[in-house]
């Protein structure tokens, strides 16, 4: 659906994107992830044809963005960063304008606009001036503008920035629903968001792609050690003796002492070793009572930080 081939973007001597290549298939929801200034928006602006790459090729729905811009642009619905809108227009006027820009058939126009207003939950405010809307509604208006004209591809630049938690969940479920009919690219620096919505993540840092994978795989990749948290009652202080008796256990460290005299420890083991069974048995033998035991999962957050750090060291 979208092919980005060896795209480089330079501003003078500054390299904003350095030889980026990736491919997005139909029906995928892709998350572009990266710290601020990594090149997410630049990538999106190039795909949408707003700016031109210094070198490389962008092919959208089979059309070259440079040579067949008109046809390529027709397949894209774009929600730019910072939701730029014509604030002097009403919601309905704006969506109708976007429909006209995208050449929606005149007969279907009214119906399509109403359908989109309904889909994005804007029916009640359609006659309001955009300037009088709250941030959350503006975001939705921008989304409606991107949706109009049934584009095959939706490109959403930071769609949930500046929203309250309720609005964020609403927008996320809207994006998920849209993902069934469209190919979606969204950018974000919020990791939980990406892991919830997307089925593939592209991590960009300093203008380079540092990782491309599913959220699950990315998490697995970074799991170095197996970490277990246990909360125990250990009145006789036997926990230190346990360490040598369990094979594969690398370290035991006290995390905190609770008020009810239980203590929480963190146990580290080698990769791919699950110690929970052994810990349970050995602790019981020593007369240490386990109140709670849980395996710590590596989060996408960890994955992200690690990948970014590695990229920095290279």
């Amino acid at each position: 659906m979208i092919e980005v081939k060896n795209v480089t973007k330079k501003y003078g001597n500054f390299v904003a994107l350095d030889d980026i290549s990736f491919k997005i298939n139909e029906g995928e929801i892709i998350g572009l992830l990266g710290p601020n200034g990594a090149g997410k928006s630049t990538t999106m602006n190039i795909i949408t044809g707003y700016i031109e790459q210094t070198s490389g090729e962008v092919i959208v729905a089979g059309y070259d963005m440079e040579k067949k811009a008109k046809k390529a642009k027709r397949e894209i619905g774009y929600m730019p960063e910072g939701v730029p809108l014509y604030t002097d227009l009403t919601v309905k006027e704006f969506v109708t304008y976007m429909a006209e820009l995208k050449r929606v058939n005149r007969k279907e126009k009214k119906e399509k606009v109403q359908q989109i207003l309904k889909e994005t939950g804007l029916e009640d405010v359609q006659k309001k001036l955009i300037r009088n809307l709250s941030r959350g509604y503006k975001q939705r208006v921008s989304m409606a503008g991107a949706l109009v004209g049934d584009p095959k591809i939706l490109i959403l630049d930071e769609p949930t920035v500046g929203l309250d938690p309720k609005q964020i969940t609403e927008i996320r479920s809207l994006i998920k629903r849209l993902g069934k009919k469209h190919t979606v690219i969204l950018s974000s620096h919020i990791l939980s968001e990406v892991s919830q919505i997307c089925n593939k993540v592209i991590i960009i840092n300093k203008g380079k792609i540092v990782a491309t994978d599913t959220p699950d795989n990315l998490e697995k990749k970074v799991v170095g050690n197996n970490t277990i948290y246990v909360t125990v009652e250990d009145t006789e202080g036997k926990i230190d003796k346990v360490k040598d008796k369990i094979k594969g256990l690398k370290s035991i460290e006290l995390v905190k002492e609770n008020e009810d005299k239980t203590k929480q420890y963190v146990l580290e083991a080698d990769k791919n070793v699950d110690l929970r069974k052994k810990v349970f048995e050995q602790f019981a033998k020593e007369g240490i009572t386990i109140f709670e035991m849980k395996k710590a999962d590596a989060t996408l957050e960890d994955a992200f930080m690690k990948i970014i750090d590695e990229g920095g060291k290279k």
């Binding site: 044809g49 700016i51 604030t87 820009l101």
Partner: protein, 226 residues
């Protein structure tokens, strides 16, 4: 293109811009009508335009300064530049929308012709060549104003550049007679005596085309440096 044209024209009247432009024009024009025509007892419609044309210098920027500068500042240019409409059509749509406002204004000036008809016999053909020449001059002015708006994201700067250029072009012949052909406003005088001067028509139309072309090139160029 139709969509942008419609929206741009509507925007002039959704915001105060259109009303300020037409209102200001008519108030000052009425003043010149009184000073240059009525007070001296003439019945020549075209006489208003000798002073009246200089008004364009100061009020055309009101119309044109926001065209591209505002879109660039608020980021809405991303919406039009990523839509399947070519830059040529975007520029033309904005140009035509502004010219429609000028046309409305010109139609309003017909009331002065009506008033003169009541008191005397103004020359119809001269009035028509005057209106035609005025329209061509406005075209040249508007196109330059749009060009100025496309090179900056600051409306005020776009406006100042526009006024500056018009005044420069206005007084250039006073510097040396060599430049007499370079003054846009001087080209109008031929039309005011009832002639359609081909040199003037070609000059004004080609200046307009040049400005529109520069605007297109500028916006196109910015794609790669933005």
């Amino acid at each position: 293109m139709g969509a942008i044209l419609k929206k741009e024209f509507k925007a002039y009247f959704l915001t105060p811009v259109g009303y300020v432009f037409i209102g200001l024009f008519l108030i000052l024009f009425s003043m010149f009508f009184n000073i240059d025509v009525l007070a001296d007892g003439f019945s020549n419609f075209e006489y208003i335009f000798y002073s009246g044309a200089s008004l364009l210098t100061f009020i055309v920027p009101i119309l044109t300064m926001r065209t591209f500068a505002e879109e660039r500042k608020t980021g809405t240019e991303q919406l039009i530049l990523t839509s399947p409409v070519s830059i040529l059509k975007i520029v033309l749509a904005k140009f035509i929308a502004a010219m429609l406002v000028i046309l409305v204004t010109e139609l309003c000036t017909l009331m002065y012709f009506g008033i003169l008809c009541y008191f005397g016999k103004p020359h119809l053909l001269t009035a028509l060549t005057t209106l035609f020449g005025f329209f061509l001059l406005a075209m040249a002015y508007v196109s330059f104003g749009i060009f100025a708006s496309s090179i900056t994201e600051n409306q005020i700067i776009a406006g100042v550049i526009t006024i500056g250029f018009f005044m420069f072009s206005w007084f250039l012949p006073d510097l040396s007679p060599i430049f007499s052909g370079f003054s846009l406003i001087n080209l109008l005088t031929k039309f005011l005596v009832g002639q359609i001067d081909i040199t003037a028509v070609v000059s004004l139309v080609s200046f307009t085309l040049m400005c529109l072309l520069l605007t297109i090139i500028f916006i196109q160029r910015r794609k790669s440096v933005r």
